[in-house]
Assembly symmetry: C2
Homo-oligomer: 198 residues x 2
């Protein structure tokens, strides 16, 4: 059983978080999602959803997957040295790291993506130019490099989460999940029509 | 500006709610989502997401869209006469009603779907047999009948929400939203491979 440590902040993108949470949370013998923020308490998404979170100080540093969403809130956090220091520590200790959308920019800022392949939101792709040490992949629904998974924008987090489930528990388990939520899973991580729009 | 009155209960399905919330909530000049439950306070989804809600008594009965998700919690609510009485009142006064997954079963139980076309989760389709007055459509991603939209299971709520946006604000607005969240919108409400699986 993995704990899925999900880092929230005001202005996180709603679906970045709750798409993957839907998929991992259904597999409740394998994963349990906990939502954290710097200070704990109520955190609001960009779409004004108030979610109850625990403070980062309560994270149990054992056997966990770190999940980092994107959203407008990342624009401020990318300059928040205290937050980034915490994020780096939690990232180093994680078994796996999953980022969605501009969550990969936050992870890049810790330096832990240097030399690794990664992707991000296609509308925000210009942001990647600030991190030339990362091997950014423009055309990708999601990218895996070792224990780090990064996804493209918002809804891509669901496809990545299913890909992660396939890697952990086998393709059939992931496929069954996708059918149960009636989702047309993009199984091929290189599927990315959106990379050609922007 | 419409308020999107979203009715939550313990055991709601996470993505049923937050898929449509992502789509409607991004259009923040047109829609504002508020989350309600019978008593207010923290409500947990089936995937254990704790969300802060307002009590039903605080619903402002003006110019609102009612959103009713599904999830395991509906199994109990479908026999909860007090909840159903409230749901019926809020449904009668709504400009539009959007249900996701087994949310349509709750609405059927109020009698307000009698004589109307509707759909629901394909895995739970047998449940529709208890409501013979409803014109259930098996093969449909979502169904519109007048001011009532019902969707198929879980992720189908996103396609329905985009269809609703298209009806309200035009196809181009909906399409742009789908691209911004990098979502492969199923634009055709009759697209439904899942109806042939169960």
């Amino acid at each position: 059983m993995y704990q899925v440590v999900t880092i929230l902040f005001n202005g996180f993108e709603t679906l970045d978080v709750f798409g993957p949470v839907e998929i991992l949370g259904r597999l409740n013998e394998e994963f349990h999602v906990n939502l954290y923020s710097m200070e704990g308490g109520i955190i609001k998404s960009s779409q004004d959803v108030p979610v109850h979170t625990r403070p980062l100080s309560q994270i149990n540093l054992e056997n966990y997957i770190l999940m980092i969403p994107g959203g407008i809130g990342t624009r401020e956090l990318v300059s928040d040295e205290i937050f980034l220091k915490h994020l780096k520590n939690f990232s180093i200790n994680a078994e796996y790291i999953l980022t969605i959308c501009t969550g990969s920019i936050l992870l890049a800022k810790t330096g832990l993506l240097d030399g690794k392949k990664a992707t991000t939101n296609k509308r925000a792709f210009a942001w990647t130019e600030h991190f030339p040490e990362v091997k950014w992949v423009r055309e990708a629904r999601w990218v895996r490099d070792g224990n780090i998974y990064t996804s493209s924008g918002v809804s891509a987090g669901m496809d990545m989460a299913l890909g992660f489930v396939a890697d952990q528990l086998g393709y059939d388990v992931a496929k069954r999940q996708s059918i149960e939520i009636e989702y047309d899973w993009k199984e091929d991580p290189s599927w990315d029509p959106f990379s050609r729009i922007y």
